[in-house]
Symmetry: D3
Subunit: 282 residues, 6 copies
């Protein structure tokens, strides 16, 4: 079989699979574009730590202005594609659909000062809790937990604004880089600290309070994973000031870890525990 015939076979196979239709390809958000916009948003949060461009007080306003305009344009373009695609499924008209795409990127830009405030609280929590941390700069420059939580805060904002697919592309991108898998639908309070982080999984309907600290390999997951339970709260609630050590597994939508509890390493928790509990493996 010669190469031209092999190429024809592949082209045929593109036509066969009706459900993954090439015609629609232009309407999908482009993964790399989404990651590029995300990088630019992270740079907007901490320009002094990430940018390669030289800047000072003179050109910072212009750099920031260009960056904001670039984020709005790039993000709106990808949201339009993600919305159009949903609209086609749901039967919403093109113009009404386009209108929907404009709002979330502007809202995100409006929320940047608030997101910065929260991310700085997260960084301060890391500095307070990790004996190996020397200063805030080191954390911003090198801690994967801090980066994963910052991306979560951006992705969560867009998820809450009803943007489909894109928040998930963002969270899976940082999952790939840090091994920390936080679903953008999760609700996480202030001053959240993840140490080491590899293998952490935080499910879609998890609720986490303030000042919570978790270590590598912690799963906040579902007991049951039936497709029919898609809209049910399937993941646990973690109240304020809880610490969860490495490898602990906490499962179930009705499981509540009471405020101030300490969940030991490698534990397996599928029922609620009251405030101030200390759970360890026996």
């Amino acid at each position: 079989m010669n190469v031209d015939a092999l190429i024809t076979n592949i082209l045929e196979s593109y036509k066969d699979e009706g459900c993954i239709n090439l015609e629609d390809a232009h309407n999908f958000p482009n993964r790399q574009n989404v990651i590029d916009v995300l990088q630019e948003i992270l740079t907007l949060l901490f320009p002094g730590f990430r940018t390669m461009e030289q800047f000072d007080q003179d050109n910072l306003p212009y750099i920031t202005g260009m960056r904001v305009n670039r984020i709005i344009a790039g993000l709106t373009k990808e949201i339009q594609k993600s919305i159009l695609y949903i609209c086609n499924i749901k039967g919403i008209g093109k113009t009404a659909c386009a209108k929907l795409a404009e709002t979330p990127s502007l809202s995100l830009i409006e929320a940047i000062p608030e997101i910065r405030r929260k991310v700085i609280l997260d960084v301060r929590a890391a500095l307070r809790e990790d004996p190996a941390a020397n200063n805030m700069e080191e954390i911003i420059l090198s801690y994967p937990g801090a980066e994963a939580v910052a991306v979560y805060r951006i992705a969560h904002f867009l998820h809450t604004s009803g943007v489909p697919v894109i928040p998930r592309i963002m969270s899976e991108y940082i999952h790939g880089r840090t091994g920390i898998d936080i679903h953008p639908g999760a609700t996480i309070g202030e001053s959240f600290f993840i140490d080491h982080g590899t293998g952490v999984v935080i499910g879609e309907t998890t609720i986490i309070g303030n000042n919570v600290k978790i270590y590598q390999g912690v799963t906040l997951g579902a007991l049951s994973v039936k497709k029919s339970e898609q809209s049910v709260k399937r993941h646990p609630t973690i109240e304020d000031n809880v610490t969860i050590y490495a490898g602990a597994t906490i499962l179930g939508g009705k499981t509540v870890i009471g405020a101030g509890s300490i969940i030991g390493g490698n534990t397996w928790v599928t029922k609620s525990v009251p405030r101030g509990s200390v759970i360890t493996i026996s």
Copy 2:
């Protein structure tokens, strides 16, 4: 000690280590080249989801034709290097060795429609099993498990064709990006789904049936890791329709998980279990 003297020392150290001879360096497959070819193969599988080039029905045949020719050329070049290196060790002549390098890249191209069919079945399994999944496009665009299994299917094809080193470079590349470590030698059936995935290890002689579902942190490993057992089946067999929850460890070449079994989270399994078993931590 001045810098020139330090450089001379380093050059000396290159000569000292006989076993890592610079002279041979030209014959090693280049890691980055292998990754570039892999990316192009992934784009060949789903052009609408990954490519940055604009395409439509008019130019898709030409783009596909160029891509296929580029894959054949690039892959053959790296296989030639990997084969030559083995040949030198095994004493096979240069011409006979070069012949061996031509076949696997053509076979891989011939197998693309079949690999597409399997990868689409894997994506459908993810859509069916994950309550958080909304549609196939989201899975292809963002699920690390889907990407890791797709790379496994490519690397496994080359491994089965007798290509050395290159399948391993591919599987370690996607291991780095997803935390999912599937040895290209493993045998995996259809409709395979890995959720979250970080920390999953699937050993070289593992056999997995159809419709198997596994979660993050699952190890399908060896009980004994003696070098002398290199050619023995060291890793377990997982039959059809098995689900293995997060953190479970299943070890041993004679360990068989019977069809339809459910292996609970954080369990430790070193013996076979019959069909339909449900194993949980006590």
Copy 3:
């Protein structure tokens, strides 16, 4: 609210956060620059395996000379920034501070032959211990454990030389790529082998002997993580010839794993064990 107003808000928020002062931004080491230098050091270790440039015995001395000069210049520049920043905090003068930056990069270059020797021993250990490994080249080209340990040896050298922040950026970079998190402060002997590796955490004050072998998901961590214990030995000591299987957790600064012990998978160890112990989950 129009976009210009939103931009002004962001600019205001940059001023508000006194602790993350833009004025200082020029003094931080740049993360990407540090990673670029690290890549070049890794290429210096194994030029035949990583470089894209064509080289032979004729131009290798010139390539090596240029590379060494480029490493010294690039690394010194980043160290100067990291030192200046600490100096400002500690009140050391600019000139004295600059002097401090010159030494560590030259020392690192001087140590390259010794680092190569150790990294080759690590690779040999992998070849000896992993039944799936076919030859040294495959390990250097594809094993994440080998790469993570090589980066550790570079970062540890700089950490020991008193360089702040930069070793941590290096170790978190490779943590992101391999899921293996080795603090640059840890002390690790010769012929060290990490298999699979995802989820491995090795804490700052860990001491590891020669010929130690560990698997994915192993934590060598602290029992207590109070900020006040920053200068105390918080992580365990692992003596020569110990093997630690997947998912084992060993905690505490006074915990010593005696020489030749085998720590089974998923075990939880918080007390010392004598030489030759075999610990398994019951």
Copy 4:
């Protein structure tokens, strides 16, 4: 005056100049895009001489197909902009205007074999006439005259098809690279050879027969350059087999150089000369 004020001044000056309105900027053909398309067309003419891509009989059809599609897309996009701009001035509607843009790029592609035939005749003429020329390849690879005439043949085709601005951008591009200024409106026969070429000017209404040869610094220009004579034939007619030596100036729309004439170097000709004339400076 501070920098922000200076920037504001520049922004004001953008608004002042009504005739060069920023709002229209999106509608202008982009000079660099036009040059990129021109380069691609030249590569289509002689793929073996210009392309950096490796090709052979296997992938040439795909490369050519992609190149043709890319040329059509890129050229049509720029023509649309150039047409829209003229349409706005002339009051032609948007849809009618868009239709006009589709035809010329397809026609150009259809004409490529004919353009190749003519360009090869030009190259053969150079080989026949220049004692310093050794073979056709040398001429295609290095002769500026051959490149300038090839670009003229492309630009002239588009000019004749009624495409505005773009042919002129092409001819001024090659004017910049070769010092040869041929207006795309000129009419030039087969087997045309320009030697050295710097300073050659061939005006818009010039008519040149077959087998004409001209040297550096030759002007085929207008006697009068009144704007009101825009649609009059202002430049000379050169019949078949004429040779014009370096620095000769031939002016006027009614000036005809009879077939087979030789016009000597540095001559000044403003009147017709009969067939077979030999004109030299006295």
Copy 5:
């Protein structure tokens, strides 16, 4: 002789030539940097015609602000190098010298609106005078004469501000691209038009009035080129409304072409001619 010996010879030859001392190399303006800044200034003049970035009324202020800051930084850096070099020769101290470098780039930015005004007048003159010109946009996009005069106006501004070397690098850059060689020291009035342009030379002490029009191959040169006459007016004066046709040569510092004169093609003029003269070759 082996390659290492040849390299040593070249290194020796670097030391031999005292007058071209490598030690000083860091102090020379870098040719490519100067050209990059020039391109950016040209884009500042006509953003709608040259920029590849997408812009609109929203982000134009930010793009302009960034561009201006980038021009100031880049130009000042090159001026500092050019000034330092002169200072070393003239014995001016480093700090005084650095001060001198700050002013000209700010002045140039301040002059941009005025330079724009003049360049637009030049473009209008081309539109008025050239029968082949259809509109202003075509001229800005494609006429080499317009580009050469725009670069002259920028280079002349810097020359007048006392910046050494850099104006000359700019004028030789555009000389290379257009064949039009205007010394930055020349004085040129408003509404200046050069048609075709290849081979035009305008000397350092030339003075040209308003509404002057010249064609390709015109030389405005010196009669005598003795080094001792460096500070003397060596080149002609061209009064208002003069037209000079192709190939004319006008020489001498005392030669004045009276207002409204017409100088015919290929003429040789070394003496003054009164207002309204018409000079042709006999």
Copy 6:
């Protein structure tokens, strides 16, 4: 006619033209590669003026060594292609042909110190003769005449070494950038100065002595351009200390301009003139 049919036509036209056979395409020197090597050789001549890399006394030897090795490899590769092509025509065997390609690049490297010496003499001549020149650095950085003569000296060396095609590609490249067209076969003495330069043509068999100075638009050409006279001296001889002003034309292989002569602007010389002549237009 659809696009696929148009593409097929173009592919057909590639087959039709037997004389420009695609099969041979791999054997042609690549124009861009030749220009890249030329740029690197120019940087080798004056590293302080052209290189973007930062260098100092420490890394200059390594940079120079790498550059020399890169030049030898790149140039030899292109020469091999140019030689192979000639060999095929002349019937010389492949191995003998390959041998021929090795020598000229090594010889060129050996000649670099001598070429530097000559180029520095040319620069000194420019400084001595041009009233507008302020210092050697300005000339090296900006004078097109100096660059064109430097390229001539490199191309002439290769031409003299019998390398086909490549010297011509080099000379036409710099012709395009400067408007100065010096055939690599011309023989030019020391301290040669070309001012302004646009339109200068120096033919293949021209002989020029020492301390010669020429201006823009000067032609040193042939009286007769019959193909049959390919091996005859067709261009003039210019003895020592001659000055030739702008636009002068000197033609004929037997024409000798005696030492110390001055040839005025726009003159037409086709006969020899004795030593010390002063020729002007009457």
